[in-house]
Structure formats: structure tokens, C-alpha cells
Subunit: 261 residues, 2 copies
């Protein structure tokens, strides 16, 4: 068994001269008034592909790279209590790596900002997806110090102060450290999150990652407003999220009688 | 002046044989255990580029294709009344094309479903971005018959029936016409919308277009829940959205004393 991944390489500025050279063949597909549509055949270097080969590949590898159907799940408050919460609890995802970070036993050099208050405090670190080089894809995460909030489902009116503290001090730290305009920040939670200890994403709004789509991301300002309107909003509301067909949580919804076929 | 747009062409299945042929040069970038990373140089046809040329181009053309900074605007209810609503009204976007559609004077052959009730009815048509060929990027729009609702800001509790009607009959029509699993649908509004006559987007949830990100899209189920909780929710809430630096609405916010620099 072998997995072969083929990807187009990004079009970078240094390729433009090569592509726009007289040596490049072309065919005209459409011409109308001032608009022309062409197909260009630049020399092979400009048309390079990136490939990753996994050999020998296990079933797990093959499964990971297969395209999976995705489904929208509408989780009511009672679904959370009867399906999602038991699933989270029984899966016992380890948070040791996170507790190491919060206790400064690891990643100490990556801390961008810390408020060490044990009730409303948090630690701000670059997300692993960000190389910290350019702000065009700036991406950081704020992780709270307290350990009693798994996700936005656990948030209540009493946590508004915590959230406003994260939002305001997080913005300020990013403005100061990266000279970044905070009006260009998208600040949000994931639900479902990738780990069950409350954390907040701070990302450049022009960076449209699939992780900030409807059915995955919740703006911190909306969450604060909802809690101010109704302290128990997140214990009562329905939340929509997207699951892959092989996600164990989707299986739990199916077992509970939901049909997604 | 000329605008040249260069894009990689999509990697389609019919290219795989060409790319994986012995004639393709390659260089190995990394090898570690079962993982190998390569750069492939297939023959020029497989590395083709798509290009669009606009010549002669006006300043407007150049401006349209320039990369623009984007900003997050948090619009309070009073911002809507004092800034956004006057802007929408004074800009007087023409809806004639839409009224032609609703009156069946145009695009008649594109109608997928119609409920001709003048209060709760709507027309379902494929979005222009969808070629109607494959359901992998299925994308339709439901346009309401009544003309008194510009956007979600105008929605009140009395409109829940209209929204539920669109959601339920829209899903049913898509299931029947395309044999499409409605659990794979993302159903949402845009705010700000591209035109100010209420319409609903029905898209394949696996199609992550930039138009369904946080700060642009609002799930119809969330909107219905909010209206059921508080009939005046959308006349009171704050809404976050993303504007390009050259958007006239952003200028209005700046004139009102908001700083985005």
C-alpha cells in the first residue's frame, strides 16, 4: 500500500518573470472586449508540483488522507448532556501537555503574554500553525489558567469578566508585540474545540482558514453579549457544528437515533 | 494599464496519469522512514496555468484586483440606525434584476422550486457561482417574495414562520432534485449581504468558501432560535462583519469617529 499526495505549489512573485516570458506557450480560450482568458504552459520549473509519498502505508494512513464526507450536527442542550458530555468524559483526552505549558515546564520561551491571576488570568502563545514570521497569517491562542471550563458550553454570566479580560489584554499584547492593528483580528472559540480546556483564538481576519467557518467558530464578542443577555445562554442554546463521517462523536449521535445517511 | 491574473489550474483526476509517468522529472526534498517529500516536474500540459488579461484596464479594474486590507467592524444597534441604514438607503442599489426573477420575466428556466405565497413564499435558484454539474460545490439561493425585509437586521419574531418555511421546503426541494443529503447542507444569511432583499444561502458544507466565515455568515437555525428567544433580537444585538479598506461603508464608520488605522 502506498499513499501519494499531489499538490500544486503556491504561485510566488519570483515565478512571474519565468511565467510571463516569451518562451511560454499559450492558447486563447475566450476574448470579449477588453477581457481575454488564456491557458499558459510555462516551462516545467514554474509548473512544479509538491508530492508526499508514504510507503509502506497502513490502513490508518490511507484513512487519514481519504476525502471524508462532513455532516452538520445541531446539538441541543439535552444532546450535550446525553451524548456529547458523556463522550468527552469517557474519551479522557490528556491535557498534560497543556498543564506543562501553564506550569511553565514547557514552551516557556514561546509565551507572548501572561496574566497569572488564577481566576481571570491566561497565557498567550503563538499557535503551532503560525511560523511567527509574517503577520499576514498571524495566529495566537490564549489558554486560561483555571481548569473548570471545558468549552463555551460551560460558560455562564459569571465568566464575562474572564472573557473581557482575555479579549482586552490579548489585543493589547498583540498590538505591542507585533505592531498589529487589532481591528484586523478575528477573536473566537471553536466548538467542538480540539481540546477541552477553554482557549481563545486570535487570528488575522484576512487569513481565511477553514477553522473560522460557520459551524466551527464563535466570536468572543458574540459569546460575551449572549452571556450578558442571559447568564445561562450556553446551558440552554442549540449549537451547530461540523463532523467528519469517521468522527466517533458522530457515531454517538447515530447511536442515539439520529440519521445522517 | 493592464491587469494580468495568474492562477494554478485545479488538479483533476485525468491529470494523474500524465503526472505519474516515467517522463516526469523529480527531486527528493526529504526522506524519513516511510515518508518522502518530492518536487515533481511534469510535462508542461499538466502544469498549465489559467490567466485572465484585462487590457486596457481602468483604475477601477486595478483597484478591484489589488489585495486590500480587511477590518472587523462591530455594528451596534445604534450604529445600524445612524450609519449603516442611511448608507444603504442613500446608495440605492438597484434590485430590478431580482424583481425580474421574482416576476418570472428572467431566469425562468433556472427556478428549482417556488412557493408562491406572498407572505411566507420564496423562489429557489442555483447561485451563479455553482455550475449545477457536481454536488461537491452545490450552492443555491432562496429569495423571498415579499419586499419589506432588507437583511437579518429587519427580522422579528413574526418572521419565524417565513424562515422555517424556507429552511424546510428548501431542504426538501434540494433532497428531491439533487438526491442530496440535507445533513450536508450549510444554510445561512450574509450580513452585510451583497444585495438588500432577504435571501438564504444553501451550500454544501464541505465547500469552504470564504463567504461562510465568522463575520460574514449567520446560520438560519441560530437566527430562528434568537428570534424565538427575543422577538426584537436583531433590532438590539451587535453584529460583527468584515469590510475591505476601500468599502464606502467602512468610510462611513471612520467619519463617525471610529478609528481603524
Amino acid at each position: 500500500n502506498v499513499v501519494v499526495i499531489l499538490e500544486r505549489t503556491p504561485l510566488t512573485e519570483d515565478l512571474v518573470d519565468d511565467i510571463m516570458s516569451p518562451a511560454t506557450d499559450y492558447s486563447i480560450e475566450m476574448k470579449n472586449d477588453i477581457y481575454t482568458s488564456l491557458r499558459l504552459f510555462p516551462k516545467v520549473s514554474a509548473g512544479a508540483l509538491k508530492s508526499t509519498v508514504i510507503h509502506p502505508a497502513t490502513e490508518k494512513h490511507i484513512n487519514k488522507y481519504k476525502q471524508h464526507a462532513v455532516f452538520c450536527v445541531r446539538e441541543t442542550a439535552s444532546d450535550y448532556n446525553n451524548i456529547t458530555l458523556p463522550y468527552i468524559t469517557s474519551s479522557s483526552f490528556s491535557l498534560q501537555w497543556l498543564y506543562n505549558l501553564l506550569a511553565k515546564k514547557a514552551e516557556v520561551d514561546r509565551i507572548v503574554y501572561e496574566d497569572d491571576d488564577q481566576v481571570n488570568g491566561f497565557m498567550l502563545v503563538p499557535d503551532l500553525k503560525w511560523d511567527c514570521k509574517q503577520t499576514s497569517n498571524l495566529y495566537l491562542c490564549a489558554v486560561i489558567h483555571r481548569r473548570d471550563i471545558k468549552s463555551i458550553r460551560d460558560l455562564r454570566g459569571e465568566h464575562v469578566q474572564l472573557l473581557e479580560n482575555i479579549r482586552d489584554k490579548g489585543k493589547q499584547a498583540i498590538r505591542e508585540k507585533y505592531q498589529f492593528n487589532v481591528h484586523k483580528l478575528r477573536i473566537y472559540f471553536h466548538y467542538q474545540p480540539s481540546y477541552y480546556h477553554l482557549h481563545v483564538h486570535f487570528a488575522n481576519v484576512s487569513y481565511n482558514s477553514p477553522s473560522c467557518t460557520l459551524g466551527k467558530a464563535h466570536a468572543i464578542d458574540d459569546v460575551i453579549d449572549n452571556l450578558k443577555m442571559d447568564s445561562d445562554y450556553y446551558s440552554k442554546c442549540s449549537l451547530t457544528y461540523i463532523l467528519k463521517e469517521n468522527d466517533p462523536l458522530l457515531e454517538k449521535f447515530k447511536e442515539a437515533g439520529r440519521c445522517f445517511d
